[in-house]
Amino acid sequence: MVEILYFAWLRDRLGRSGESLLLSGDEVSSVRAIMDGLRRRGAAYEEIFGEGAGPVRCAVNQEFAALDSPVRAGDELAFFPPVTGG
């Protein structure tokens, strides 16, 4: 399983703060592959990940990650807008 988290306007548009994704034990996916898989699930995902959506950042296991970063079972993958704290 990969634990997926959504923050800020991504969570608002999706209407959920997270979900689990099944990944077999030794499968190595990537952030990009998981995003593409989610987009095929429906309009709400297309709205946050598709062309024309705002800029989205991601983290794997609480470290900023790139689109081609590997994702394995047991990982925590978070999607969020560029940060605006401070």
């Binding site: 800020a8 704290g85 401070g86």
Partner: protein, 156 residues
Amino acid sequence: MQVDIRIQEEAFSVDAEIARLAGAGLDVGGIGLFMGVVRGDMGLAALALEHYPGMTESMIGRIVAQAGTRFGLLACTVIHRVGRLPVGAPIVLVLCAAAHRGAALDATGFVIDWLKTQAPFWKREEYPNGEARWVAARESDEAAAARWDAGGPAEA
């Protein structure tokens, strides 16, 4: 270095936090501080702040550790509030204690500049008419952090 990093809804007392720095010893000669406040221009009523628990603390910890090494800090406290904060409310406190003023003030700028670009917080603006909108990140914040060097805390 004495480090204290807290994410909380509650307000904080600067006097209490400065008193706590006394634990860093007798070599402290200067304390630098930055406090961010909810600015009320444009008719804003409040900010709602959310964060990514866990990642926030570890990212701020990394920024503080790098500031400690680079500026020879004796103590550093970072408090960031989350939840709904009305106009005029303090949002964030950065306190850096060092032997001399230059290091204390430079470290304060370093920590807040990197926190703005590296710590996973998000602000939503709330207006008196009920409208709300997520704040967009500013390129000027990236530029301010990049001033400090090419790599920065993310690479540490």
